[in-house]
Point group: C2
């Protein structure tokens, strides 16, 4: 058999599995896997460094299917090259409940999937984080341990999402020359020809941001291999436009949008089998083809062995540190570091904004945790994200810094942070204003869905922003973030809670966290000397009532000090009042019901206070509680005046309490 014949049979195995699985599932996307089968066969068959017997080998090349709807491409490949976690039965159960082969590839669910994709553009933008993490880790541990490529298959949809531009620009600025993007240039989207909505010269677009860009016949294995090899020698990131026929092999539907997202149907599948000379029954892979693929799966064994030897030969301390970093364990001193921050804050006293509290915590933590990589979407000195330890920028040619200038690209930053966290070896954190969390929300959702440790530092967290006005004043964002499952949203009230929140965020290995931080100064409230991390409970009594409580005040962040003032005033008027600080809804709702009941208490009047909308508070305090907060958008003016304008003041809380008591 000629090399070309062998290639074709290997590629057709992907096409056949795809057609059959989509047909069996009665849903799915055959077009991309069939169109990109040749590219994928060259990539997995001849280029990619991986070992199916050790899917987590730290120095493997990363493969990211940004066009995640074409999930049968990666499922086929995982099965063909011999990943243990992917059997023919899994393929047959494509898109069935509980299967390893869900509609879109899910990280953590299926071994061999590097990142969850489907929401377009995300995989491509993740890949920038992967490639950046590779460079950073290599800078810290050397190329003996870290030296791999990041390959991406992206579709037209990925390139149309604005997120892609942010990713392209970051990759270009960072000269990520080990990032290679294979674009499925098939001229088709769901609605028809790309010409309906695209008049962009993609090659010129990528070149404008410092990429190599080339176009090849995506069905010519030699051209594919040559283009990848060329890209590997470049000093820039590379785009390879692979001109393909979507649904290649389907003689009637191929090349049309009819093949994008629906089963081909029995007749077209039969025609495709004939066209491809694929005479086997559904789901049957002949042994010559399976053997060839399994052999391809062994290609990197020697490289893997050599790497393992190099790791063994590495200085024990460096090796231990490398292994700790890859495992994602924190240094044992982390707790101590946080305790130190708290002790100092208590000794110092004084009012600081929680964004500053966060900086204080970060100064100590980034010093102690070399895995922390900071950054901001061009708001470094507003987000207070840069510390002494992270003062060197991550940039070419050395990548030995720990702070990324993401530019005004919140979405690209968030998606790249997901990639950095997924790559391993780092804990990324990045800042913007809370109101602009909307710009990166799709990536925050994916942090949560994948369960990766990314910390979002969102400052300017309320109408306390003041003069910048309603466009910059978050009102609904706390509720909207709390709505995302598996995301910890912290809104600490002072430096102690902020330090505790950082500790919890770093310890939260299985999910992302948000820090909602103020621009305005707040007094130190946690003057107790407890060593317990009260923030871990999500909510706790910060100040008790002088007698049986008539009023319970619940607040988060900047409104806790306001509640404390209201309590003082109420107590002075003879109304026993307690204050509950609520730094994290999610952690509170995870407490045992009895503990929750105790914290909520039985005071006849309950008032929740937050300079944001009410939504979400009912679950904490009950729908019969009063609420002092926002009901609409904010206003431009000095912060104290804006708070007064909306009645979010100690006096407002006292008046609400007294009127409720009179009922």
């Amino acid at each position: 058999m000629s090399n070309r014949e062998k290639h074709d049979r290997m590629a057709n195995a992907i096409r056949a599995l795809t057609m059959d699985a989509v047909e069996a599932a009665k849903s799915g996307h055959p077009g991309m896997p069939m169109g990109m089968a040749d590219v994928a066969t060259v990539l997995f068959g001849k280029v990619l460094k991986f070992d199916p017997t050790d899917p987590h080998w730290p120095d493997r090349d990363r493969f990211i299917l940004s066009a995640g709807h074409g999930s049968m491409l990666i499922y086929s490949l995982l099965y063909l090259v011999g990943y243990e976690g992917m059997t023919l039965d899994d393929i047959k159960n494509f898109r069935q409940l509980g299967s390893r082969t869900p509609g879109h590839p899910e990280f953590g669910h299926t071994t061999g999937i590097e990142t969850t994709t489907g929401p377009l553009g995300q995989g491509l933008a993740n890949s920038v984080g992967f490639a950046l993490a590779e460079r950073m880790l290599a800078a810290q541990f050397g190329s003996d341990l870290v030296d791999h490529h990041t390959y991406v298959i992206a579709g037209d949809g990925c390139l149309m999402e604005g997120l892609s531009e942010e990713a392209i620009e970051i990759a270009g600025r960072q000269k990520l020359n080990k990032l290679i993007v294979l674009w499925d240039d098939n001229h088709i989207t769901i609605d028809g020809s790309t010409a309906l909505s695209v008049a962009t010269d993609q090659l010129a677009r990528f070149e404008a941001s410092g990429w190599n860009a080339t176009r090849i016949d995506g069905h010519d294995p030699d051209a594919i291999l040559a283009a990848i090899e060329r890209a590997k020698t470049s000093d820039k990131p590379s785009l390879i436009a692979c001109r393909t026929t979507i649904g290649f092999g389907a003689p009637n539907k191929g090349g049309t949008n009819g093949v994008h997202g629906a089963p081909l149907g029995a007749a077209e599948i039969a025609a495709a089998r004939a066209f491809l000379n694929w005479e086997y029954d559904p789901f049957v892979i002949p042994s010559d083809v399976l053997d060839a693929w399994r052999l391809a799966g062994l290609r990197s064994r020697q490289a893997h062995k050599n790497w393992t030897q190099r790791l063994k030969d590495t200085d024990a301390t460096l090796r231990g540190e490398f292994e700790r970093r890859v495992r994602g364990d924190l240094p044992s001193k982390t707790g101590e570091v946080v305790a130190g921050v708290i002790a100092k804050a208590r000794a110092d006293g004084g009012a600081v904004a929680t964004r500053k509290s966060s900086e204080i915590a970060l100064e100590a933590l980034t010093e102690a945790l070399p895995e922390m990589v900071g950054g901001s979407a061009d708001l470094t000195h507003s987000n207070n994200t840069k510390t002494k330890a992270t003062s060197v920028y991550v940039e070419p040619p050395k990548y030995d810094g720990r702070y990324v200038n993401w530019g005004i690209r919140e979405h690209g930053m968030a998606a790249a942070m997901n990639g950095i966290a997924l790559h391993g070896g780092f804990i990324p954190y990045g800042g913007t204003f809370l109101v602009f969390s909307d710009y990166c929300r799709p990536s925050i959702r994916l942090s949560a869905l994948m369960g990766v440790r990314v910390v979002y530092v969102f400052t300017h967290d309320s109408i306390g922003v003041g003069e910048d006005g309603p466009t910059h004043q978050p009102v609904e964002h706390l509720a909207a973030l709390r709505a995302i499952p598996n995301l910890l949203v912290f809104r600490p009230c002072d430096t102690v809670e902020t330090a505790e929140a950082w500790k919890l965020a770093l310890e939260h290995k299985t999910g992302p966290s948000v820090m909602a931080l103020t621009r305005q100064n707040l007094p130190l409230l946690r003057t107790d000397d407890t060593e317990r991390c009260l923030t871990a409970r999500g909510a706790y009594e910060l100040a008790s009532a002088s007698d049986e409580a008539q009023v319970s005040l619940f607040a988060s962040g900047s409104e806790v000090s306001l509640a404390m003032k209201a309590r003082e005033s109420l107590e002075a008027q003879g109304v026993p009042t307690r204050v509950v600080s609520v730094p994290c809804f999610e952690l509170f709702l995870n407490q045992p019901e009895e503990s929750r009941r105790q914290v909520v208490g039985k005071a006849p009047v309950k008032i929740a206070i937050e300079a944001a909308i009410r939504q979400g508070w009912d679950q904490i305090v009950g729908s019969d509680a009063a609420f002092v907060g926002m009901t609409g958008f904010g206003a431009s003016g000095p912060a104290p005046e804006v708070f007064a304008h909306f009645g979010i003041t100690p006096e407002g809380v006292v008046a609400t309490a007294l009127s409720r008591l009179k009922r």
Copy 2:
């Protein structure tokens, strides 16, 4: 005085007002207005077609300050050219509570502001909608009535946001040659030099998407004028990179990030006054300069008069229609059309997905309302957004269609729809999957903040999506959208409610609406023969209990039919059960308290049912009610199995009801 001297004095008036206002406010952004004062002076002094005495003249050129933080630029201009709504006192009250001069320009708040900006990239993307609306309206009413340009001042931040790429690509594909973007190419962002984060050749980037691009000295009035005049003759959209010194005139801070977002301080202001030869006291504009500016404000008077004459000369029917369209009034038959849809749905019966119900309503509405412009982010046949009446595409050279192929650019679509609505003459609606509302959330927020009539058609609204899995199954999105103030979120349960929701959305002139629609079929439930629009109440009793209700079931959308089945089963077991349909939280919460109390009722067991998270429901049903819905992300599988997996079934509801009754 030479022309150049006169120009300089006019430009320096902007610089002086900016310095003084920011200094008085003790906050603000002097850098951009001072840097772009020359460009703005040429644009407003010599090019822009506008009439300060009639700010709403439909054929005015549109000016959009995409770099909204430089708000003192537009406030200065509005004052200088003589807009009635902008006095020197307003300038002196910059950024004060209740002033006409908030931190960022706000549409609807300050006359002369075409769109609210500040969140970066939005103004640029709005402008694509403005320019597209101009072409579409000209196609429908002729160039005698509609023939104007859209000018944008954008900053580096606008160009870094991925949204800008979507906007650029749409404008390029649509060949919007009357769109002219003046980029403040000052090499500075908040964090310092743009080189920190940008390695993109912006001119090449724009050219790749079919734009003209040129670079000029942004302080040379002749070059500015020549470049704009050249751009006006082009057959493509134009980017003019205006190389400027940020904070031009501030001799020490100019050209640095120190001048971007903070007052200059007394010493630097004094130095700037000396540097600019501006010897006047704060807020004083000498009469020669004010006169020159006021004269510039009169420049387009004759053009305006001519236009008014042409409008008068227009055929009365066409003129009446033009005026109706510009006012934004609906045709008087709109109610009748909706009634017809409802009558037919009742006659037809049968189960349809609400995305199909929406298509049915749209077929009739788009036929009757020529102002409706449809589109989709490449999911036309999934969102069911294209109708017979809108079947012709909006595209060059004729722009006579009514359906826009936005491409896979949700954010660009939403921002452009804001621009179309703001321009006037159209009611835009556009579709994507509900889960991808996250991609355009910043623009949805601005629709709501500005109060513009944009309708978001979000289909595939729950785990009912099925096989596509958790990346495509919205769980938190209903809550997150309901959190946005001034946004109506409709989740109708059948064709009748869907038609009612469309009617309400179209009648809602002062804000946007979301239609959350199913992929899966739903039975017709509103078989009553009432002509009242029950959806207008937000929630209402759909089925009463056979006796004093023991159980009240509350549901929206696809879960209403599920509630009806549960009711049947409970009634069969002797438990009087009623069902309340809740198609719109916002409208319900606006009802008088007594009406709300009646709808909620007094049944001892209340259960809310929604295939989404609970957040937000407590405000409707109380925190003591039970909830049948989601608590985390979804799963990939056939929809009925996924519903069963998460216990969102009639049986699940019945079990919950019975266990609650036993308590």
